[in-house]
């Protein structure tokens, strides 16, 4: 933590640490829970009214080319087809891109991937629209293609965009890499590759646009960031912001892509058609369309050259990270930062030289996905740590503990790790829970074809947006005359439960039980620009905005109570929904009466507070600085069981601990730990959206495997560690993304421990394990036949 930051944080020091904390730290049922168990939330697809037109998007069938001819006549002539819209129908700027303006909504000539949209059929029914899409005839002149990010950087590679294939590059220059290698006695070089992962929210992308007679439009959809969606629509529609209202409906999972371009695509297509045809239009992606058209996790190629001294201390790490962002940069321009800032993981390396490149290819595009560059960077680093320990003949845990970040050490960006680091406590929890040292001894003497192994991975995860933009949020609290408190914010709930945390913070500050709180639908016409709901930042940043609003309301209510109770404000306390005289607690006024009295006196009973995190300064030339204001820490140990005759393996045990600063809602935190770990196990073991010549070959849930209830480990032990951080309310750190990061390296390392097979390209499939075992046998037999000669 830099001095500037500490100074700032003095000004926002949290209430409550000293006194009794109600509602925070309690496992409270989520505010949207009751509706959900009753099956009653209204998702966008549940509000479809008769007479609504259906828009069906269609996309390129080639990975790179120009459209020679687009023949819409047959599609347009089909009964019940109303229109087909293309780039010519976009009233404003034909653009649907989150950061760099490199992506058109509809192609006007060039297609750079098979996910490139060409247009949308508008029909009376979904089935008709689908048939009409098949009747659209597109003729292409194909262009040369490139599908590998390293190859795409070569001078001979075809240019995906005129400006060249490197969309962004970043670097870290810490210490003196040559000096570091010269003091190393072991140097290890490895290359790691990661795959496309699909987010697979259970609800696919959907948007609905309803035009009004005054020329404005209301857009309702499944999304993470309604204000960003509005900004994109304002550009596409060439309309003033106040004429475009965006409302987030209940959203059935998101995990990243719903903060990127697909919500702009479905909402944009619906809005363009709705305004043109003056009818409500509904645009939904089916599963296949969603898996082809939305952003995925970036495949990375990562090279490490790492030097270690004879006593097992890391000396130098030279790292290259290449991101395949597909045809468009999307959020890759920020993923690259999180990746490089985490490239040496939870370890102190005095000399670091890292270079990262965000590279265009003709694959479908990549962007946000839970973890955001962290999973790839940590997979490579933790695999490298494992292999280094083996090379040094050190225990992998001991080697890690020797090098891990603890208060006083410095990470890859040279940020000083402060006393809010709970990594050692996390390690202690999982080592104890897994019976690590004892298991090590037992597993050292295994015989037979079924082998067990242990895998470890440690986590440092920079909190919130950091260098990914201004980190702010607004939260509106409105106390009604009946005492009901309506919480309004552009931050969205899409499953994480984070908004319940934001409300718990308000409840704790105001002294009012959660039963008085209601959540308003996020609506750009009503709620202030809030930035995106991403980076797990809702509780930390939104929680601070909520705290500020609650503090102001509490003060006003204390004044009203003081007047009613005929005491001074400092004599009044509000606890558990009752305002009372501290000197005589029998003299009190209940919450509903207090709210009514406040309204009767004309006291302002709504407050919208804005919180912005202090800047996270770092130097673009050296990559050094404080790109994050606090970190979440974690440790994972998994146990696997591998059948060496088939390569088939199971993860049998998971022991995991996260330092979340303060668990505002422990059950909510556990929900993120379970869910994130399982999604991470999917990434580790089975999930791969396979591209062949730029075409996604498995865009469905039969061929793209995500974990089912039969796949999750038998034993799962989760621990919450609480070392308060300086940024979040009550010391809270972020929790939603981190648990997805560690399973991939932990599984890879456990399989290596059990079998001696190191799989350096994700996912760690049984086929790769078996091939590795066979290669090992081959090597062994080569050696023995060599010896016989």
């Amino acid at each position: 933590m830099t001095p500037e930051v500490s100074h700032f944080l003095k000004g926002v020091k949290q209430k409550g640490e000293e006194g009794k904390l109600l509602y925070v730290g309690e496992s409270i049922e989520r505010i949207d829970g009751l509706e959900k168990v009753l099956g009653r939330p209204v998702y966008t697809g549940d509000m479809l009214a008769r007479g609504t037109l259906h828009a069906k998007l269609f996309h390129s069938s080639v990975a790179h080319g120009t459209i020679r001819d687009l023949d819409l006549s047959r599609a347009k002539g089909m009964p019940r087809v109303v229109d087909v819209i293309t780039w010519r129908d976009v009233p404003g700027i034909n653009e649907s891109s989150a950061v760099i303006p490199d992506r058109p909504l509809f192609s006007s000539g060039v297609v750079r991937s098979t996910a490139d949209l060409i247009g949308a059929v508008i029909a009376e029914t979904d089935a008709t629209a689908q048939d009409a899409v098949e009747a659209v005839k597109v003729t292409y002149d194909e262009l040369p293609t490139v599908f590998d990010p390293v190859e795409a950087m070569q001078p001979y590679a075809v240019k995906v965009h005129d400006e060249g294939n490197v969309a962004k590059q970043m670097k870290i220059r810490k210490g003196d890499i040559l000096k570091g290698f010269s003091s190393s006695s072991v140097v290890l070089e490895n290359t790691f590759r990661t795959q496309f992962q699909d987010a697979t929210p259970m609800e696919t992308e959907v948007g609905m646009a309803v035009p009004s007679a005054d020329g404005s439009v209301t857009v309702i959809g499944s999304m993470q960031s309604p204000h960003h969606t509005r900004a994109a629509l304002v550009k596409m529609l060439n309309m003033p912001a106040e004429k475009v209202r965006v409302v987030q409906a209940f959203t059935g999972g998101a995990f990243g892509p719903k903060s990127d371009e697909t919500p702009y695509d479905v909402c944009g297509a619906a809005a363009i058609a709705a305004l043109k045809l003056k009818k409500p239009v509904y645009c939904r992606m089916d599963r296949e369309e969603s898996m082809v058209m939305h952003t995925k996790r970036h495949p990375y190629v990562i090279r490490h050259k790492t030097g270690v001294s004879a006593d097992g201390k890391l000396q130098a790490d030279e790292v290259e990270l290449y991101l395949d962002t597909g045809a468009y940069a999307s959020l890759g321009v920020f993923v690259i930062g999180r990746g490089i800032f985490h490239c040496t993981g939870a370890y102190e390396v005095p000399n670091v030289k890292a270079d990262s490149y965000l590279v265009y290819t003709n694959n479908t595009y990549a962007g946000s996905l839970r973890g955001f560059g962290g999973p790839q960077a940590i997979f490579a680093m933790e695999s490298q740590m494992e292999d280094l320990a083996r090379k040094l003949s050190m225990d992998p845990l001991e080697f890690r503990m020797k090098n891990m970040l603890v208060p006083g050490k410095r990470n890859a960006t040279n940020a000083l790790i402060d006393s809010s680091c709970g990594l050692p406590q996390c390690v202690e929890k999982v080592v104890g829970s897994s019976d690590y040292w004892n298991k090590r001894k037992i597993f050292a003497n295994q015989v037979g074809q079924v082998k067990k192994g242990l895998g470890i991975a440690l986590l440092m995860h920079g909190n919130s947006l950091g260098p990914e933009g201004n980190d702010y949020a607004a939260v509106l609290l409105e106390v009604g005359r009946d005492g009901i408190i309506t919480v309004g914010t552009g931050l969205t709930e899409y499953g994480t439960g984070a908004i319940t945390g934001v409300i718990q913070v308000a409840a704790a500050v105001m002294g009012v039980p959660l039963k008085w709180f209601r959540l308003a639908r996020p609506n750009t016409a009503k709620h202030r620009e809030t930035g995106p709901t991403v980076a797990s930042r809702t509780v930390v940043i939104g929680g601070n905005a909520s705290r500020l609003a609650a503090e102001k309301l509490r003060k006003r209510l204390e004044l009203v109570a003081a007047d009613l109770l005929k005491v001074s404000q400092s004599d009044v306390s509000i606890e558990d929904g009752v305002a009372f005289d501290r000197a005589d607690t029998t003299r009190s006024v209940g919450w509903a009466d207090l709210a009514f009295e406040a309204h009767r006196r004309g006291v302002k009973m709504s407050e919208e507070s804005f919180f912005m995190a202090p800047p996270a300064p770092w130097d673009t030339e050296t990559g050094l600085g404080t790109p994050y204001l606090q970190y979440t820490w974690g440790a994972l140990i998994v146990e696997v069981q591998v059948d060496e005759s088939t390569g088939v393996y199971q993860v049998t045990d998971v022991h995991v601990a996260y330092d979340v600063g303060k668990a505002i809602n422990p059950t909510g935190v556990l929900g993120q730990i379970y869910g994130g770990t399982v999604q991470g196990l999917g990434y580790a073991m089975m999930e791969e959206l396979i591209h062949r010549e730029g075409k996604v070959v498995n865009p469905n849930l039969a061929d793209y495997y995500i974990p089912t209830s039969m796949d999750v480990p038998k034993n799962f032990k989760a621990f919450i560690v609480e070392v308060p951080g300086p940024l979040g309310p009550f010391g809270a750190k972020i929790v939603a993304e981190p648990p997805i990061v560690l399973p991939a390296p932990a599984v890879r390392n456990a399989v290596l421990d059990a079998t001696g097979v190191a799989v350096n390209d994700l996912p760690v499939t049984s086929e790769k394990v078996l091939m590795g075992l066979k290669r090992g046998l081959q090597k062994a037999s080569d050696q023995s036949s060599g010896a016989a000669k």
Partner: protein, 159 residues
């Protein structure tokens, strides 16, 4: 291709419903679009995600894979038809307690499956619960909160 119409009478959530359906209409289409039972979710239309699971004559099925025309005389139950069911109430409470409903999109199918498991086997093991919900995908919870909720509901309901 001409679509033939079928006249189908079935009992849905206790009420007899008669409708003309197309030969290509799935049971899911009918439940969602004609009978307004929106707890039945559409996640893939190919039987892979299980979000459209309902009870058809006492069996848990993916309603997207059943043709409505096949359902003549059948008894269909969705979450909407189980809200007064005492076992369902316990399950709902436990889902709330364990944060087993997160984005909520798989929740109706999970609850119907949970009811199916516990009503047929008063004391299911964790393995039986895993198997019982294995046709329904959830991307939020990692399934553990759902196991905990179903097992505790079964435990509490035992006489």
């Amino acid at each position: 291709m001409a679509l033939s119409k079928h006249f189908v009478t079935m009992t849905v959530n206790g009420a007899e419903r008669s409708l003309h359906v197309d030969s290509t209409d799935s049971l899911m289409d009918i439940l969602r679009d004609r009978l307004d039972l929106k707890s039945v979710k559409d996640g893939c239309r190919s039987g892979d995600c299980g979000l459209c699971a309902v009870l058809l004559d006492g069996k848990l099925v993916n309603s997207c894979l059943v043709l409505a025309a096949q359902c003549r005389g059948s008894v269909v139950t969705t979450l909407e038809g189980l809200v007064e069911d005492p076992l369902m109430k316990v399950l709902q409470q436990k889902f709330l307690k364990y944060n087993a409903a997160q984005c909520g999109f798989c929740t109706p199918a999970m609850l119907v499956a949970a009811k199916d498991i516990v009503s047929k086997n008063a004391k299911p093991s964790e393995d039986e619960v895993r198997l019982g919900i294995s046709g329904i995908l959830c991307r939020c919870t990692g399934y553990y909160p759902i196991f905990h909720a179903i097992l505790e509901a079964a435990e509490e309901r035992k006489p």
